[in-house]
Symmetry: C2
Subunit: 203 residues, 2 copies
């Protein structure tokens, strides 16, 4: 049996935020197991997504058609235009369609993960209440402002609450995903995955 | 003036191979310079590309419509099906349309970069003759077999010949791209880019 991994994407998503976990879960265990341990797909509100700097992606599913997943990944990215209009995760964190989808998927999932400012979306969905969480170093204050009931951790690669894990910015999603591979499949498989990716920094 | 960066993509391209450089060049210098130093686009033979594990991408340009670039990036990925049919970079390395495009772009470009088995494509395009080069650790022998006139380097993050730089597998493209940012814009900008990406491993 494979773990089904849903990666939520949206306009102005930071490319490495989603591509890091996509890579890790796509290649983990492929060389050492007879059945691929993860089946990865992308899901988005729209059928075409413009990731940061105009990388155009056709998601595997729109949100309403996406199957239930065992692991959901919420990447981040985005900010505010000069006139104050939010874009990327700063917009999605207030998008009721997205928040509802995440709440429903998370209620069913074994693991809910976020990278970078994806944790702002999880926080707005109410999923970080009573939890430890982290985010991109430039968004620490934004995360604090969402709820007093989140223990915000700084300078930690990721914060693991068991079923909900948030990582700091961008490249940290790679480390968090390898950590999840180790949790689910054992350290040997995570080590082999990092080796295949020549991610020499993984301990 | 911005450096124009063309990232070649193809069916079964390894996701992090192209997404790592895409991320680095997309975000480098954005916080410290008034003009974005890099303008990144993707280019492919077809107008829809299925990257590894079904990530569907609409390239910015098809090869014939892509403008000349200052920097070209050739990622890798792929292998052989059970019946011996090559896919991904193992197919593109023998695709005359791709080799011709790379030769023409490289002749005009300031820098030609490859990640992972992208160096096999550069080697087949004749661009590594008399150069030092590296590749994914599982493809070292394949690179050696293409030409006796390539000095194949093992266990090096990337091999820099000045105008042609090849990196080892997958995540090494991030380090090579940061190295290029440092070459072109100075170490301070590369350090700031790595910090923004929370790529703590960059020295």
């Amino acid at each position: 049996m494979s773990y089904r991994v849903a990666i939520f994407i949206f306009n102005e998503v930071e490319v490495l935020d989603f591509a890091g976990p996509f890579e890790v879960f796509s290649v983990a265990g492929l060389r050492t197991r007879s059945v691929p341990p993860f089946e990865v797909f992308t899901a988005a509100q729209f059928d075409t997504i413009n990731a940061r700097n105009h990388l155009t992606i056709k998601p595997t599913y729109t949100l309403e058609k996406a199957p239930k997943a065992d692991i959901i990944v919420i990447p981040g990215g985005g900010g505010f235009h000069a006139d104050g209009t939010p874009f990327g995760s700063r917009r999605e964190m207030n998008n009721p369609i997205v928040l509802k989808w995440i709440q429903e998927q998370s209620a069913n999932a074994q693991l809910t993960l976020s990278v970078c400012t994806g944790s702002l979306i999880l926080a707005k969905a109410g999923l970080l209440e009573g939890k430890e969480a982290t985010t991109h170093f430039l968004a620490i204050d934004s995360l604090r402002k969402i709820s007093d009931n989140i223990t915000v951790k700084e300078k930690t690669r990721f914060a693991d609450n068991g079923n909900i894990i948030t990582s700091e910015g961008v490249s940290a999603g790679i480390d968090m995903s390898l950590h999840v591979v180790a949790k689910l499949l054992g350290k040997e498989t995570a080590d082999e995955t990092a080796k295949y990716m020549q991610y020499d920094y993984w301990k």
